[in-house]
């Protein structure tokens, strides 16, 4: 691992290399995280993009990327990444490209593909010790098609497919935990609203060889139903309430990079979003709000906070 360069906010790249003009929604939390990630990764990156919101990034003949981009079906981005990595390795071995022309391979998938269909392909890529970075923009639903429930959708939120008074009956899958159990080279959770924490983690991931995960919670104005301007406040509250723990897995252990003290009640995070409006109106649902709070408290108790 090389010596980190990013120490404070001012060290974050001031040059923004992701092109503007993409068709992603105004206030997109996923685009916020991706551009921050790309600024640190640099132009020499091939994105292997599975179907999802980010499909809208690169619509022929327009692309916001400066390096490579390859499109795959939802479940197969890690397999695509294997192919690109192999091709680059062969080109390097045959000296058809110089070492400085080598590129990093990054998977770009939403939570629908990551938590569900693409999970086996990712797990197998980790087994093969593939040198790649898996970026998941987690907007907690199938955002591009109208916010249907995915395996990353949190309990009690309302989606296009769970419209009842109690919202989603299931619970958000612990994807970070699944990756850690798979022993990758590196894994981290990030959020666009915390650019310094994000940049440090991406910088670290970039310096490590092997399978790496950057899991970015991505507030979604359309799916979560709030004004686009609130993307920042909701992102910050996700961290302050402890709902989205910022952590990393490196050298065989999980370390929390930001521990909220004291934790803001989860209610402050929930009530800004239309997808939780049924918890507050017409009648306050204390049972569900308390359940969400107690799950967050139990997480941090187990961490030893």
């Amino acid at each position: 691992m090389s010596e980190p360069v990013i120490k404070g906010m001012k060290d974050i790249p001031s040059e923004h290399i992701l092109g503007a003009g993409t068709a992603l929604c105004a206030g997109c939390g996923a685009l916020q995280a991706l551009h921050e990630i790309y600024d640190v990764l640099g132009e020499n990156t091939v994105f292997v993009n599975s179907a999802g919101c980010m499909t809208l990034m690169s619509v022929y003949p327009f692309t916001p990327f400066r390096g490579g981009w390859l499109y795959t079906a939802m479940a197969s981005a890690p397999a695509g990444a294997q192919g690109v990595r192999d091709a680059l390795d062969i080109l390097l071995a045959k000296k058809r490209i110089a070492p400085e022309e080598d590129m990093q391979v990054a998977v770009l998938s939403g939570d629908g593909a990551t938590y569900g269909m693409g999970l086996a392909a990712a797990s197998c890529a980790i087994d093969r010790d593939l040198d790649f970075l898996y970026i998941c923009y987690d907007n907690e639903g199938y955002g591009n098609t109208g916010n249907q429930t995915s395996a990353g959708t949190p309990h009690a939120s309302r989606t296009a497919t769970d419209t009842g008074a109690e919202g989603v009956p299931g619970y958000k899958k612990d994807l970070f935990g699944l990756w850690v159990a798979n022993r990758p080279a590196y894994a981290a959770t990030v959020i666009g609203a915390e650019p310094l924490d994000l940049a440090r983690k991406v910088e670290k991931a970039k310096s490590i060889k092997g399978p790496k995960l950057i899991l970015a919670l991505s507030p979604c104005p359309v799916g979560w139903d709030y004004d686009p301007m609130e993307t920042l406040e909701i992102g910050r509250l996700a961290v302050k309430t402890g709902i989205w723990p910022l952590k990393e897995f490196v050298d065989g252990k999980v370390v929390h990079t930001k521990t909220p003290h004291p934790r803001t009640p989860v209610e402050e995070y929930l009530k800004l979003q239309g997808r939780y409006a049924h918890l507050f109106s017409p009648k306050r649902n204390d049972a569900l709000i308390d359940e969400i709070q107690s799950r967050v408290d139990a997480y941090w108790d187990a961490v030893g906070d």
Binding site: K10, G19, A20, T22, A26, E43, P64
Partner: protein, 314 residues
């Protein structure tokens, strides 16, 4: 059968409009289909929704290719090819457009002989992004068909939006009835289209495609960041304006948090917003620690630097 097509941008409520109009027809005893077209669900994207209503069974399926009434909630969609606003206009097809301009102006502009009705939906002092646009469009369409009564429209609005609470229903109802009343002179001007028999099934015209090499068959883009050719600045209804007298020049904050990478360090070290591409999310306004960035209405914004190019269609 009435065949009605709605055009709007994501967030303007076209799906809801088609629901309301469909239900209103249903209450009047019609058989009904109403559905939005599957596509990008993002705010600002061109959205289509369709309503079919007939006294008897409806055997047509899918998108409406031969509309009797086309409703355009956002006039800026007209020049966008992907929005297909003017697709398949027959001489009897009526165009209802949300515009403060006159029908004659639109007739000249579009070189269209079909009936054109303009309905300015924005009330004094309002922005282009109207939360009530969908309901007003549905109500105006209801009046144009001449077969939906004022009362039954009102009941439908209350029924469809009931879960949103009394205040929301009341305001939507007010908007709906205002649009319904505004169309009094045109009541019943939209006639039912003729029955169309299903075209006899024909085999496809086969074209034998030779197998291309991958590099020919797969479209490749050989330049970086070509997306800047798409001017997303037109999405904006509010614009962020930097007040340099309050600004700390901490561009790493607003510049990093802007999702669209449109804030760079400009002259004198102050943040510079690329208005050709800024989508108007106002995250920078929320992010600025000195409150030096202000959200001002796009309409009539000082120092006209707005995007002047229509967004290219994908």
């Amino acid at each position: 059968m009435f065949r009605i097509r709605f055009h709007g941008r994501g967030g303007q409520g076209m799906k809801t409009a088609s629901h309301i109009l469909g239900s209103a027809f249903f209450h009047e005893g019609f058989e009904v289909q109403d559905a939005p077209r599957y596509g990008a669900e993002r705010r600002g994207a061109p959205i289509f929704a369709y309503v079919r209503a007939a006294r008897g069974a409806i055997n047509e399926r899918g998108i409406i290719r031969h509309p009797d009434l086309v409703i355009v909630a956002d006039e800026s969609l007209v020049p966008v090819p992907a929005a297909e606003v003017l697709a398949n206009f027959a001489p009897h097809t009526t165009l209802l457009i949300n515009s403060a301009e006159s029908a004659e102006t639109w007739r000249e502009r579009l070189n269209l002989s079909s009936p054109i009705i303009c309905l300015p939906l924005a009330e004094a002092g309002e922005q282009a992004e109207l939360p009530y646009m969908g309901v007003a469009c549905a109500a105006a369409a209801a009046r144009l068909t001449g077969v939906i009564g004022r009362e039954s429209l009102g009941d439908t609005v209350a029924e469809e939006l009931g879960s949103l609470g009394e205040e929301v229903v009341a305001e939507n109802l007010r908007r709906a009835l205002a649009a319904f009343d505004a169309m009094a002179d045109h009541e019943g001007c939209v006639a039912e289209g003729e029955e169309r028999l299903a075209a006899p099934a024909e085999g496809p015209d086969w074209i034998e495609m030779p197998l291309d090499l991958g590099e020919q068959a797969t479209p490749a883009i050989h330049a970086g960041a070509t997306s800047v050719e798409v001017r997303t600045g037109l999405w904006r209804v509010m614009r962020p304006v930097v007040h340099e007298d309050h600004c700390n020049k901490c561009v790493w904050i607003c510049g990093s948090l802007c999702p669209d990478s449109v804030i760079s360090t400009g002259a004198g070290g102050y943040p510079e917003v690329d208005y050709d591409h800024c989508k108007g999310c106002m995250i920078c306004v929320a992010a600025c620690p000195r409150h030096a960035i202000e959200a001002v209405p796009e309409h009539g914004a000082a120092g006209e630097t707005a995007a002047t190019h229509e967004e290219a269609s994908p």
